[in-house]
């Protein structure tokens, strides 16, 4: 399974590559931890219905997931928050992660309503993106009484941890995922394992072609 991503945005660089195709080579504990991510997403338990809607729109923006199939990021984050699986620290000027999520999602929804007369999930994708860019651009200035950069850090940390733990995301970036007990035998520049797939467009340096939304 591959996620929808146009070649212009980095899609189809590793044709035919599938990390899960190699899962017979993974140890059982790892199979258990990883393959469950491909199953039915956990039910939403932490977010209220409104929070879920705002969070879903936020994650779709942060991770550019605008059509199915999607990595179920909102369910994965909700599950962590329901189980209080935090990173083991919080900034002194933010509440603990669960409460920080509730407050920041409400604040984002409020921004949309004040600026556009509709909530965050209801405004256009472009409007959502510019609302987020406004938070990002505040840097260390305050946003609804919170340091904007720390809110941004909270959102992006949870989003990246969920999305890049999913085998479909690994396929898109050429990463084979678990590597025990097989390991690697071909170390060094341009030396691939038989199950790795060479980049079909090695000249697509994103730093050189920066642009587009985001």
């Amino acid at each position: 399974m591959s996620l929808p991503l146009s070649p212009r945005d980095g899609g189809e660089r590793y044709p035919g590559f599938s990390s899960v195709d190699e899962s017979d080579h993974w140890d059982r504990a790892t199979q258990g931890a990883v393959l469950v991510r491909l199953g039915l997403p956990p039910d939403i338990r932490f977010f209220t219905a409104r929070e879920e809607a705002v969070a879903r729109a936020l994650f779709d923006q942060l991770l550019d997931q605008h059509s199915d199939p999607r990595v179920p990021v909102v369910n994965m984050v909700d599950s962590r928050l329901a189980e209080a699986e935090t990173d083991g620290w919080r900034y002194a000027d933010l509440p603990e992660d669960g409460q920080a999520w509730r407050e920041t999602l409400a604040a984002l929804d409020q921004d949309a309503t004040e600026r556009h007369g509709q909530g965050f999930p209801e405004v256009t994708l472009d409007q959502q993106a510019s609302l987020l860019r406004a938070v990002q651009d505040l840097g260390y200035a305050k946003w609804h009484g919170m340091t904007a950069a720390r809110v941004w850090s909270l959102w992006t940390r949870y989003a990246c941890t969920a999305f890049y733990s999913h085998p479909w995301a690994w396929d898109e970036i050429g990463f084979p995922g678990p590597a025990y007990p097989r390991g690697y035998k071909n170390l060094g520049l341009d030396r691939l394992e038989p199950f790795e797939v060479r980049d079909a467009r090695p000249a697509q340096d994103p730093a050189a072609n920066a642009g587009g939304d985001g």
Partner: protein, 540 residues
């Protein structure tokens, strides 16, 4: 090799396959709470496990407590980034200051083996200059001991882990028993860029045997060192010191959170440790107590052990507990190459340079930095990319380019400052104990080092042919917080790691370090603990 086995037979006690010896654990000696054991050690990481092994071997009755589990790597660890969350200390903590330092996965372990379970594996020694930075440069602090006091303990621990690497030209030049490992694309880039820019770089030193060591197998180069080594190739006390400790009659009491140190006001001595296991509060009697909970939990435990004699916290008569806590500035600079680097292959720790470690009189700043390969896996790499401000389509575009990036990390010697400290928060944990609040702010010297390190990393990557570079600012390691000093007005413990305030209370972890150099601290923490154990055994 037989000398190592005679000193520490852990590698020969493990089974000749992945996993751990359940026989040793099943048959482990178990003490009663009312037994007065010779020593109760709080924390089974680098410092605590080394103490436990050394003292058990000397015939002491010893119990090592750990708040986390007694890991079974085959069952409990996975070859996966997100699935390794349980390896970190994730109980609540508050971070504050001008430059707050994230904790958790970055620098905090739990469970038997401590944060060495998920450390990268670099095990450099400190340089002789690290022990007198104040006299030499007017910054930091002088240790009450010198490099020569630690040298033989460095040599012992290097053999026991064991360490592989090239002959080391920096600090006190020395060699390693095991040859350097082959390097991956990331290491090749570093070596090539260093050579082209006139910088000396070396392979190692890493605590991963190159070849079989006892019953521990060879590394399989799978790159998941930071997720716990299921192979048993990378060292952690779980496999390097705990098996030998158990074979000599030590007990490891896992899943047991020590909440307070017992104290007798009449004798002025520690009496044991209060701990919670399975929700039940208990008390273990002990003749000596050693605290090895690392730089956040050790000060927190001392502060939470306040009593009538020590109203401001145990050993805190002079407001030293929790202070001078240090992190290293650890910016990471990545470079983009036309070739496929695939930095996730092979252990992240491969190549390093200590050419910039010492004070350079031609620079405006004191002390220096080291540079090492680091190889972020996708989640950590995504945070690196997001830190550049990229998100949405731009993030996905950058991430699809992952195989083309190489990444170096610096360790900058941030200076010990009194206001960088642990104190107690209003917030309580599930045991009802105040959680640690860690406040951190950089000084100007720190910021100058960050800039200098970044420019050297950019120079190396560019010389290796990088088309673009990008840098993320972050921190690594924790040391200090209950430092060693010449007297009780300047620190918490003396040169033998014995607390000034209580004659039978020791601190044997990274919190005793007065300065940190730009070396990864694990080896030094173990060497210091081995030295304290030797002093205790000699004096017994």
């Amino acid at each position: 090799m037989s000398a190592v086995r005679e000193r520490n037979s852990s590698a020969w006690l493990l089974p000749p396959r992945p996993g751990v010896d359940h026989g040793l654990r099943k048959d482990m000696r178990r003490f009663e709470d009312q037994d007065e054991v010779d020593i109760a050690i709080v924390g089974c990481g680098a410092g605590g496990s080394t103490m436990l092994q050394r003292l058990a071997r000397a015939g002491w009755t010893a119990v090592g407590f750990d708040a986390g589990p007694f890991w079974d790597p085959e069952r409990d660890w996975v070859s996966d980034e997100a699935g390794s969350h349980h390896l970190y200390w994730t109980e609540p903590r508050v971070i504050d200051g001008t430059d707050p330092v994230p904790l958790g996965s970055n620098n905090s372990g739990r469970g038997v083996g401590g944060s060495m379970v998920h450390f990268a594996g670099y095990t450099p020694r400190f340089h002789p200059s690290d022990f007198h930075t104040f006299t030499a440069d007017g910054v930091g602090a002088d240790w009450p001991i010198g490099y020569s006091d630690l040298r033989s303990f460095y040599e012992d621990i290097e053999e026991e882990l064991p360490v592989a690497g090239e002959a080391w030209p920096w600090g006190d030049p020395h060699k390693y028993t095991y040859r350097p490992h082959p390097v991956s694309g990331n290491g090749e880039i570093f070596l090539r860029g260093a050579f082209a820019s006139g910088i000396t770089a070396k392979v190692g030193p890493v605590a991963i045997a190159n070849g079989r060591f006892g019953n521990r197998p060879h590394c399989i180069y799978r790159g998941f060192c930071l997720q716990g080594c299921k192979v048993n190739a990378k060292a952690s006390p779980l496999i390097t010191h705990i098996p030998d400790a158990l074979a000599h009659g030590a007990e490891v009491r896992a899943d047991s959170m020590v909440t307070r140190i017992g104290f007798d006001e009449r004798t002025g001595k520690a009496t044991g440790v209060h701990y919670v296991r399975a929700g039940v509060e208990r008390f273990q009697r002990a003749r000596i107590v050693a605290v090895a909970g690392y730089s956040i939990e050790t000060p927190r435990l001392l502060l939470n052990s306040a009593n009538a004699r020590f109203p401001e916290g145990m050993c805190n008569d002079f407001d030293q507990v929790g202070r001078y806590l240090m992190v290293q500035g650890a910016p990471q600079t990545a470079g983009r190459f036309a070739a496929e680097v695939r930095m996730y292959k092979a252990p992240p720790p491969e190549v390093s340079t200590e050419q910039f470690y010492e004070t350079d009189p031609s620079k405006p700043y004191k002390r220096g930095f080291s540079i090492q390969t680091v190889s972020p896996l996708p989640i950590t790499w995504a945070e690196h990319v997001m830190a550049q401000g990229h998100w949405g389509a731009e993030l996905r575009r950058y991430m699809s380019d992952y195989p083309h990036w190489a990444c170096l990390g610096a360790l900058c010697e941030f200076l010990p400052l009194a206001e960088n400290r642990v104190s107690l928060s209003e917030e309580k944990d599930r045991h009802g104990l105040p959680v640690a609040k860690f406040s951190y702010s950089q000084c100007e010297n720190d910021q100058q080092l960050l800039k200098a390190a970044q420019s050297v990393m950019e120079r190396i990557l560019t010389a290796a042919g990088a088309e673009e570079t990008m840098t993320v600012k972050r921190y690594a390691h924790l040391v200090g917080g209950a430092r060693m000093a010449a007297d009780e007005h300047h620190g918490v413990v003396d040169s033998s790691c014995r607390s000034f305030a209580i004659p039978n209370l020791y601190i044997t972890d990274g919190s005793v370090l007065p300065t940190q150099g730009s070396a990864n601290p694990a080896l030094t923490i173990m060497a210091l603990a081995a030295r304290t154990a030797a002093i205790l055994v000699k004096g017994d």
